[in-house]
Symmetry: C2
Subunit: 320 residues, 2 copies
């Protein structure tokens, strides 16, 4: 469903809005929220924005970020609840408490797994980012895209297609990003912010990279992060999210693995493949899942056990 | 001068071409050469390509890379010498020996410092990459851009604007990249290749990141690479070219410095600023130069001396 026109009519009719998006916020949902907020304000609407989580420090550069509130700070006098970038309602956390019979719920998302909740939907699984859909909506609403909105939407698109590097990068995503550039988006500022790392995170990266391991004539490479090293470094679990990319980019590595000890939850394994093996199948074998080139699974037990089992399985696959 | 039409006429009239570009080749000049080579072949021309240097391993993924020859492998029977992405003729190294009265020299470049050499020029300092100019030329020549050519041109644009992150990213660069995507460019393959690192390079990165230093309440951060560590790691000097980015991305760092010991040539200093100080001025003070946000200089003397002098100077500037 792409009820762009219905959303336009609803916005024209109503005066007060709450915008929200998924927990564990990222550049796409925060950028989308801020651009839509600015657009609705331009149309003279009252707008509140809530996210039931902490906004990561690397997104604090976005103009208007201070207007994103926690669920409990919201005044429940809005007529429309617009839910962005959330495949199901539970993804918005405590903001769910504001659901009631009087409000209209609008569901705007690009996840293929969207459950189709809400009274009006604008769903487009072909969009590389929710920001792409918000751009279409802004055109439909005939608002002027200023440099702050352009920066927010560029951030959304760049986040979800890895700065135009991932295979999900579409011609349309690049076209919109180009338009946002023309409207005043500042890619260097965005990339500086998105890629910023804390000093503890960088020191942890250094320590784990020194212990990088390879097998299968260099076709397999992996990193392990134990809880003691993480604690000693002062870095957070989230800081390690991108670490697998360092392994992935080793020349000759067909398969990259990242093993992370999570206290009380065993070992989290991330897997990347350049195509030589199907890591989705591999992850499924261990009770996880994902895609052919990017997947993951979890283990109860020690870091060493998890490492041995997965490494052995990948070696076998690579031998075939 | 943008003599697009004259270049088209010349190509229509002549049958045999030598294409070349600057030494220390990169994604832009190699991508531009390969796309132009394919275009001329499509038009039924005989084409040789020479670069007086080793093509970096991370560009070997480009289709047709094996057709790039060294200067001495060229048969001197061509009528036209097309020089790409080279601000002056000395940048093409030994390929200069093929200059003579009989050939027509075409100069295609985007560097603002281009000396304007050659018989026909297509110079556009507003272009983010030479690949952008080659795209325009391919349109002028009315050739069909296949997926290999698209991949080569996307590589050129992505290289020179840092995958659309640098401040030189233009709307036109993004538009052309979008068109190349539509023609079959594969951004993930390109980014995987461009960002690939050797295991020794990664181990060296780990070692130097562990010794990252900060001053001025975290506003200044720097890395030093001594020759002994470099040799011990098995990495090459070129491997360290991107290391300054790790310093640049530290949260709170306004100025990033990279000190590299170069045997027999003293210490090479790279400087990056987010705007708090003008590193061009700073570099000029030490006999170097560059831009406001990216500059460099060289020192005779030890790594320690160079570090002390530059760090002190930056601290003074930051105190102002």
């Amino acid at each position: 469903m792409k009820d762009k026109a219905k959303i336009r009519e609803l916005i024209n009719q109503k005066s007060s809005f709450l915008l929200t998006a998924h927990i564990f916020p990222d550049g796409d949902n925060i950028g989308s929220l801020l651009a839509l907020r600015a657009a609705l304000q331009q149309l003279g609407k009252r707008v509140q924005v809530a996210v039931d989580d902490t906004v990561p420090a690397n997104l604090h550069f976005l103009a208007g970020i201070e207007h994103i509130k926690r669920a409990e700070e919201i005044t429940p006098d809005f007529q429309v609840l617009m839910i962005l970038d959330s495949s199901s309602v539970d993804r918005i956390g405590a903001v769910q408490k504001y659901f009631n019979e009087q409000i209209t719920v609008v569901n705007i998302d690009h996840h293929i797994s969207n459950t189709g909740f809400g009274n009006i939907q604008y769903l487009d699984a072909a969009a590389a980012a929710t920001a792409e859909i918000i751009f279409d909506l802004l055109v439909e609403l005939n608002v002027t895209i200023d440099s702050a909105m352009a920066n927010a939407l560029f951030t959304g698109i760049a986040t979800d297609c890895g700065f135009f590097k991932y295979a999900n990068t579409t011609v349309k995503a690049m076209e919109i990003a180009g338009k946002m550039l023309a409207c005043g988006a500042r890619p260097q500022e965005i990339s500086d912010a998105l890629e910023s790392k804390s000093l503890p995170a960088l020191k942890l990266l250094a320590r784990v990279l020194e212990q990088i391991q390879v097998a299968a004539q260099g076709k397999l490479a992996w990193l392990s992060i134990d809880e003691a090293s993480l604690k000693a470094s002062g870095a957070s679990h989230e800081d390690t999210d991108g670490f697998i990319n360092y392994v992935r980019f080793i020349q000759g590595a067909e398969v990259a693995l990242l093993f992370r000890e999570v206290p009380g939850r065993g070992v989290k394994v991330s897997m990347r493949s350049k195509g030589a093996i199907d890591v989705n199948q591999l992850a499924q074998h261990f009770g996880g899942g994902g895609h052919q080139k990017a997947a993951g699974c979890s283990f109860e037990g020690s870091l060493q056990e998890a490492t041995e089992r997965v490494v052995r399985a990948v070696e076998e696959q690579l031998r075939k």
